[in-house]
Amino acid sequence: MLLYAIVSVPLCAGLVAAVVPWARWVGWLTTVGNGTVLCLGIVLAARTTNRPAIGALDGALRADALSSFMVVVIGTIALLAAWQGIRYLGVEIEREQSGRRHAALYTLLVQVFVTCMLTAVLASNLGAMWVAVEATTIATTFLVGHRRSDRALEASWKYIIICSVGIALAFLGTVLVYFAALHPLGHGTAFVGAQSHGAGTLNWTSLMAASRHLDPGVMRLAMALLVLGYGTKVGLAPMHSWLPDAHSQAPAPVSALMSGVLLTVAFYALLRFKAIADGALGAGYSRTLLVIVGLGSLLVAASLLITQRDYKRMLAYHSIEHMGLIALGAAAGSSLAIAAVLLHILGHGLAKAVLFLASGEILIVEGTTEIEKVPALLSRRPVLGGIFGFGLVALLGLPPFSLFVSELNMVRAEVAVGLAWAAGVSLVCMAVIFAVVMAHGRHLLLGGAPGPEASIVTPRLVSIPLVSGLVACAAFGVLAWPLQPLLNAAAHVVVP
């Protein structure tokens, strides 16, 4: 019943928002909606930390520790995005950049987007999970093109084409896994429920149980396609190029949601498949795949961040870097690694969402995303500059934020499993990124001659969600209390 509520609350909020032209109370309604999703998620997490899993809707939805953790992450980021969305849409309507109808459509699509992500995370059937992830792409295409400028159109075209290709490859991978499940080794052709075409054989639990009997050849091809396919949605190396364009053109709350949590939902799918592949092929195969893809993303992010001139694109490349780190962490595969990866997902989601929302606010008050044209932010807008500054500090992996702790433990796990060289290369890339982002941040925050006087002032109320996001990220970095049991339980789901 709980799962059903989690999925339906954002959908209802979206439908209500679609019916009536946009107003502030509609914004608050969606924020409250996402807030309830977060609370339900926390309740779900509390339930699933010690008990294995909760089923619902006659087996279609299923929540174990891993998926409840993801629900919590989605809930937090959706709450922040919706809360900031009120300010974003309010300003847009005030400046007649888009009508109330268009804003209503925007809110509907955002809520549909959140619902698809929740279904993807809670789906028990891997095929249904694929359908939900594909649905998120469709929902976000129009959100990326929300501003209807030709740059936004170009970004959404690239986004949908590249992601659909990736997702099609992922579907091919899922089919191959299904094929392997239908004809497991050692059991001849007949396998309980094999011919019944029921959804049973694509269920994650049954696949995990049968993972040792899956044919290695087929699974190797399937895992490669899955890493390539879902990797596109995660923004990993070979098919990452859509990410900077889409995230820099999308409105701030949408890019916060996409960068903060959509990438990690796709990574959640990869984690599910990695658990099965490790059962069938042993950890070695998926480790090499993820290391190649992880290091590729890190190198791409490091090289392309050097000459960056747009702060939104800079943040987008940062997401590619962190996804590369998470892939590298998952490659290590030990339970400590997966726990650190999940903590990193939460930390990165919070920090990245706060940064994108802050960059949206900077775009509203400054009017441009060019770093050169926005100098000395700290002296002209102390609060906004402070939030952006501390966000960058969190993102660059400095204590007291949780990204430092998770990066440290990921390196520990990687070195323990013999990936010291990969950890070394990742640290060098992160050092280059640190130096480069420090240089860009220096100009943005400290800057040369202070620019024109701050004409439009950010109301104090607006910075509440941002500051609370940063405080939460710092709290998770320092206190082990709320997350430790949930992280361990989720890690044991992936690494039994």
Binding site: E154, W157, A199, T201
Partner: protein, 219 residues
């Protein structure tokens, strides 16, 4: 439907899918590629129907009918209206000429055959022997996406990939579970609708445009 008739029908239909794929690569005229796409949709529907008959599986039969309608008729109709007449309907100077792309297509088909060696090894029956065709269609579709400049041909490329994946699904597992199959085809339909809307808005704002000119968002 069993025995030699089933095998011949299956081979014929799968062969038709592959041939249509090659045709889309070969012809430059957009209208011809769209009709090749609809032919391929129909052939895919026939494959599904033959399998349903062979397996006596009613669900697969329903899906076969759905595929016939959606991929054979509805989607090509959507695309034809987008193509329109006049100069826009011819593919501009592609990045590589036709003969080179055909040679690459041949190479891709060989690669598909090599790659699906493992699949046929697991279950050596008539359907699985044809999976390389599905994989080849996916590769052809991807190659079309990479080389062609017109928006319509990119949509056609994407649909080729989806047809390839659907073919592999039918041949290997006689269709994925019903819910998943329905969800997948619904998604593909929605993707085509979205692409259709995007392409038309771009036509309105940018005039007859070549995808390669879309380079404003760069580093």
């Amino acid at each position: 439907m069993s025995g030699p008739g089933y095998v011949d029908a299956l081979d014929l239909a799968a062969g038709a899918v592959l041939v249509c794929g090659v045709i889309t690569l070969w012809r430059r005229d957009l209208r011809a590629t769209v009709s090749a796409l609809s032919l391929q949709g129909i052939a895919l529907g026939v494959v599904a129907a033959v399998l349903a008959a062979h397996e006596h599986d009613v669900g697969l039969g329903v899906i076969a009918g759905l595929v016939l309608v959606a991929k054979g008729i509805v989607i090509p109709a959507l695309l034809r209206r987008l193509v329109g007449h006049g100069p826009g309907s011819r593919e501009g100077a592609a990045s590589i000429n036709v003969s080179a792309s055909l040679v690459v297509a041949a190479a891709l088909i060989v690669v598909a055959f090599l790659a699906s060696g493992k699949l046929t090894a697991l279950l050596p029956d008539t359907a699985t022997h044809l999976t390389p065709i599905g994989l080849a269609t996916v590769l052809l579709g991807f190659f079309l996406l990479v080389t062609r400049r017109k928006a319509v041909s990119q949509i056609v490329g994407l649909l080729l990939i989806d047809n390839g994946v659907a073919l592999v699904a039918f041949l290997l597992t006689a269709g994925v579970p019903l819910i998943v199959e329905l969800g997948a085809s619904l998604d593909i339909l929605l993707v085509v609708v979205v692409l259709r809307v995007l392409a038309s808005t771009m036509h309105r704002t940018l005039g007859p445009f070549d995808l390669d000119q879309l380079r404003e968002l760069h580093d």
